[in-house]
Symmetry: C2
DNA sequence: TCCTTTGGTTAGGACTCCTTACAATGGGCT
DNA sequence: AGCCCATTGTAAGGAGTCCTAACCAAAGGA
């Protein structure tokens, strides 16, 4: 399993892969520099660059080095290598970007939606945005990564409605919508999971292999990062914590989401949390606000206790409209410190984390696609 | 990261790796058979076998093929390749085996312990068992995998005592004990995690990538399998569910372990569950037994709800002295089916699952060590 | 102008894998 | 017994990849 069949073709593709990866990291390099960076000899690099240029994957940028010694010519990834689509779908709008293999955002578009516009409007906005970017990008869209503000079925990429949880965007199938506009794979996951990835990459959990990201906003969500990856579970619903049992206002065990119903903090006729009402009820200095805050903190810590028990995180990052507020994070942190197995609680830091996280995955996917084109294909039987 | 530096040496090592892996799978093969199995040409295989034989990794078994055509000579992994130690430590004794790269148990020893013998006796028994096996195995012990009936610190391999949880074996450091007797790495994990691995390999969760294994015996434990691997968490304490909040007998939220205290089902002066008392109280046909059983089922399902929320398993496998009893598994299954996100519950099936699981990992580790010896080593700077 | 420094190529060799052909050898069949 | 043939293993030759060493090319500085 772990060892490919050896062949000279494999060896050559490995050399080419080294060259491409070096240029993904460093944008532009001369052949001598590539040789230095990769540790491969100069003649071999020259061969590889010739091959890749002829194949259209690399191009001579025309620029030349300055300084002592002979001027060398810079090479770079070809400009027609296409881009990856990154899209974020929330009830209030669709944001879409195209990122290239360097990780640069090369195009962007957005469409606002009425909060209650519903599924069809969101679908249309997504299709329009993707179409626009596709037309603007030389080389087209080679893969897509989508963030959606609802749970996502891992097998199909469709948004799913869970009982007792708000269904913000609605029954949408991003894969169906994007497949005609994107050449390669379309990956869909919910915003909380992408946000966790962002916090691991450049936020409060930078480089932490095991942590939990709690999203406390209109919806309640959680991402579990274990061994350096967001773990999605069988259906892709890992982290959907609405039905997790936790202590309610009077101490009885109840599903997490019901705590908010008991406190009257849900929006009318909905299972979504009324964030304004919650802030008003829990964030003041008064005695009553303190009581509500304590009840919320205890309920959240019930969830954290479950996460500690099952996932053993090194820390808990809290995000979301009310969870990341200093008052709340502090209250949660104090309450969690009392638990038999305490765990640090910090507020999330990254802006538009779902976009940052999805973008990171998109760049990875695009690079992988570019490199995969080289690999020897076993003769199809 | 993902692509090694290409060289002819790498190519050769890949060929040798293919040969070794083929012989690990099929025990003995002629050179022609290796060529057929790996898809590599006969002359190349002959070269590789010559190299590996000279290096002492392979040996001509002396046997020959029979049948039509010229008789070929069989080759096999060399007998001095050593073995991996597999050890299981429980309060009632130590079991140790040596397994070779084929996965065969080539030696075994065991020592019974008094239930309250304590740490020092367990340490001595482990050292003695490892020493004995080491002496009996040509090539020695090249790695060790240990199962312990207590939580294990992932970074150090030491057994740790958690609050409100029984500490069955006691403060033991298997790495310290075994390092002098084992040439390579020593890996320690708790029995529940190894049991889950066994259920995935050959039990009720065969081939399932995402599931949860619940151990309900004297202690309470859980293993989380996500994306085909047991996930241990930052400290290695993922699955230590004693403090998970769940509904108690009267409906109040309380730590899982306290449910048993409330029901009077703990052993006197201990946090361990009195399995005999539990069976007596919950497994009869009477009305009272039914009531206790229902309370237990509801508490367990609170834990399952947390696992469903955070890990999204495809199924739950229940093991342990009372959990795997048909009465209990059935009650749990019925209760869990009522939850908003139901999940199938089945009883564990594998015998001595902690040994089976640890053995699987040991064979993998030993094979990896054998193969790793071939790989080109980057020139140390 | 010449020297130094750096980029890139040429030449030759070592090595690995493959295909093709062939030698070796044991069983089955007449 | 002797022939056929299926099968194993080796030999020869060739293609391809990488490397080292040496060399040519060109730009900046003394």
């Amino acid at each position: 399993m772990s060892s490919a069949k050896p062949s000279l073709e494999l060896l050559r593709s490995l050399t080419d892969e080294n060259v491409l990866r070096a240029l993904m990291e460093r944008r532009r390099l001369t052949r001598a520099e590539i040789a230095a960076v990769t540790g491969i000899s100069k003649p071999t690099i020259s061969d590889s660059v010739r091959r890749l240029s002829r194949a259209g994957l690399l191009e001579d940028t025309g620029e030349r080095t300055t300084g002592r010694g002979r001027a060398g010519s810079y090479y770079s990834l070809a400009g027609n290598g296409g881009a990856a689509l990154v899209a974020s779908i929330t009830p209030s709008g669709v944001t879409a970007e195209a990122v290239d293999a360097f990780g640069d955002v090369v195009a962007r578009t957005a469409a606002e939606l009425d909060r209650n516009a519903g599924r069809d409007r969101a679908a249309a906005a997504l299709a329009r945005a993707a179409g626009e970017l596709r037309a603007r990008i030389r080389g087209g869209l080679r893969t897509a990564v989508v963030s959606a503000a609802d749970p996502v079925d891992r097998a199909t990429g469709r948004l799913v409605h869970l009982p007792d949880a708000p269904f913000l965007v609605g029954d949408l199938d991003p894969v169906e919508i994007l497949s005609p506009l994107v050449d390669g794979p379309v990956l869909v996951d919910n915003d909380v999971n992408w946000a966790a990835r962002a916090e691991r990459g450049e936020g409060r959990a930078r480089g932490v292999d095991d942590f939990v990201y709690l999203h406390l906003g209109e919806g309640l969500g959680c991402a579990v990062v274990n061994d350096a990856e967001v773990r999605r579970g069988h259906h892709g619903l890992a982290g959907e914590i609405a039905h997790l049992y936790t202590p309610g206002p009077d101490g009885t065990a109840m599903p997490f989401t019901r705590v908010f119903a008991e406190l009257g903090l849900r929006r009318a006729g909905s299972t979504a949390i009324d964030v304004e009402a919650l802030r008003a009820a829990a964030f003041g200095a008064g005695e009553e606000a303190g009581r509500v805050r304590a009840v919320l903190a205890r309920a959240v810590c019930g969830v954290v206790a479950a996460a500690v028990a099952l996932a053993d995180p090194r820390l808990v990052v809290v995000g979301g409209a009310w969870g990341a507020a200093p008052e709340m994070t502090e209250a949660i942190g104090e309450e969690c410190a009392k638990a038999p197995r305490g765990v640090p609680v910090v507020a999330a830091r990254v802006e538009t984390p779902e976009l940052v996280g999805a973008r990171g995955r998109a760049v990875e996917g695009l690079r992988e696609l570019i490199v995969a084109a080289l690999r020897p294909t076993p003769p199809t039987p």
